[in-house]
């Protein structure tokens, strides 16, 4: 299998060609190590960081922006959103505070993207 993809690791957006033969992945066109790693994952099991918001009680703001500490498999993003629809947090919240441990995948955490003071 040969596939042309755009690397999305950084805004440069290199065009990368991935070839998969007998389970072996070869990558051409990447300009950095990160791009190589990305292309290999993208060929076999694409992953993405998920960001969204959850309601926050008694905070200076109403919604807390959150993100996954590591990328999740792309195919579970919608399922992840459904799970997060039931999550609510209470202020105060610190930047980087863990909201959920082991979210869908082991060792993937849901963390707060900002601080929220209690009011």
């Amino acid at each position: 299998m040969k596939k042309k993809i755009i690397c999305i690791v950084c805004p440069v957006g290199c065009e990368v060609v991935i070839t998969v033969e007998k389970g072996e992945v070869s990558v051409k066109g990447n300009k950095c190590e990160k791009g190589l790693k990305f292309a290999k994952t993208e060929a076999l099991n694409p992953v993405r960081i998920l960001t969204t918001t959850v309601p926050v009680k008694n905070g200076e703001i109403k919604f807390l922006p959150i993100k996954t500490s590591k990328p999740l498999p792309r195919k579970v993003l919608m399922e992840a959103m459904k799970k997060l629809a039931y999550v609510e947090v209470e202020a105060p919240v610190k930047t980087g505070q863990v909201i959920i441990k082991d979210f869908l995948v082991e060792n993937v955490k849901v963390v707060a993207s900002r601080r929220v003071k209690r009011v």
């Binding site: 755009i6 805004p11 957006g13 918001t53 309601p55 919604f63 959103m81």
Partner: protein, 415 residues
């Protein structure tokens, strides 16, 4: 009326304003205030909850809130005076800033220097002139972003996005994740307006159709948007007969570009650049009014916040230089460029320091040289696109080679 005397007023607390303020503080300008119109510091970044910020500046990938939180924490830690919920109304030619706050009333702040970091405003339906009805359900992309991420409201159920700017692409993904059906992104040009990575991770990941070379011709609906009409266009952007198509939707979102916000300085008559719509500045980001400096999106629309911070810090250095050494109107060389280039910032150079130039091309080009004749400098580009700002770093020694009063950027095809 509150009256204060400071060395520096920073207008705007987005990444440009806060970065400039912190840098100026570190350089010893501790008597300063930051004015912010919104209730919170941070400008647009608190609503940009997606990742992709800080790769250059912090060497790690952060979300917008995380990126700006680092600056907000710093401002609070060192105790810079900030006025939120405060609108700057006027800047006089003497550097007096009049601002108003609901609780404190009108304030008069006498300052030796002012940094403008007022950001940008979104272009709207009226800027791109889409006719039809005027129903509810027409938004700009940044407004939708604020509604969803800050206020917690969804704008509708079925959306069409007009324009393929980055904010629009990011909102296509955000809306989809929140259960809104995004029926397509309409782009009049044959190439997307946003970054390639956003086409991949925001549209292709979710099978959202991108209609390149398509124009929206009508928005229809009695009270709420009901449908929009689109048509294919040729290379001269003229509609092609027989390609008309209707898309049913209840929401139309415009992502058709940003305009630098400079209303505050329109009265004092500084020189403006008709290509960037921001002020003309030298390499210290000093405008033609010596006490007034400009940075961030109010100077020129950047696509990376990392560049915004970098240029804001240089503006702070400029203020410091101006106040401490009394920068006289230094000898400046004018920057000019050929037809393939849309703009180059800064527009003047003092040749007193190394300079980073930021420029954009008008159209996508392949196999081209960007050259500066006066110093015998050139760089080859396999591909160069309008949606990706080009940064050129030049050392002072190189700039000193310029003999005349001009420095000319040219983009030419490899022959």
């Amino acid at each position: 009326m509150i009256e204060r005397k400071v060395d520096l007023v920073v207008i705007g607390s987005g990444p440009a304003g806060l970065a400039a303020s912190i840098k100026a503080y570190k350089l010893g300008l501790t008597n300063q205030v930051v004015i912010e119109r919104e209730k919170y510091l941070g400008g647009v970044l608190p609503q940009c909850i997606h990742p992709g910020f800080g790769l250059k500046y912090f060497k790690e990938e952060l979300t917008g809130p995380e990126f700006i939180q680092r600056f907000i924490d710093k401002v609070e830690e060192i105790g810079i005076g900030t006025f939120t919920d405060t609108t700057a109304l006027k800047i006089s030619r003497k550097g007096e800033v009049i601002a108003v706050n609901k609780k404190l009333g009108v304030m008069k702040i006498k300052s030796k220097a002012v940094i403008l970091a007022t950001g940008a405003r979104e272009k709207t339906r009226w800027d791109v002139k889409i006719p039809g009805d005027r129903p509810a359900g027409v938004f700009t992309a940044g407004l939708v972003q604020k509604l969803i991420n800050i206020e917690g409201y969804l704008p509708g159920k079925e959306a069409v996005i007009i324009g393929s700017g980055d904010v629009g692409l990011i909102m296509a993904r955000r809306l989809t994740l929140e259960g809104v059906k995004v029926k397509g992104v309409i782009e009049i040009m044959p190439y997307p307006g946003g970054l390639q990575r956003n086409i991949v991770q925001c549209l292709q990941d979710f099978n959202i159709p991108l209609y390149l070379s398509h124009a929206a011709t009508e928005i229809r609906g009695r009270e709420r948007v009901e449908r929009i009409k689109i048509v294919k266009v040729d290379e001269n952007l003229n509609p092609l007969k027989g390609t008309e198509k209707e898309i049913k939707c209840d929401t139309v979102i415009f992502s058709v570009g940003l305009v630098p916000e400079n209303e505050l300085v329109s009265e004092i008559g500084i020189e403006m650049d008709s290509n960037t719509l921001g002020p003309v500045v030298n390499d210290y980001f000093q405008t033609t009014a010596p006490f007034l400096f400009s940075c961030g999106n109010s100077l020129v629309i950047f696509d990376l916040v990392d560049y915004v911070v970098e240029n804001a810090e240089t503006a702070a250095e400029g203020v410091n230089f101006y106040l401490k050494k009394g920068m006289k109107k230094a000898e400046e060389r004018k920057v000019s460029f050929n037809k393939k280039i849309k703009f180059v910032v800064p527009q003047r150079v003092t040749c007193l320091k190394d300079v980073s130039f930021y420029l954009r091309v008008k159209k996508p080009e392949e196999k081209v040289f960007l050259s500066i004749k006066e110093i015998n400098w050139r760089k080859y580009f396999q591909k160069i696109k309008p949606n990706e700002m080009v940064k050129v770093n030049l050392k002072r020694e190189e700039l000193l080679k310029i003999k005349g009063e001009k420095i000319t950027f040219k983009l030419v095809r490899k022959s």
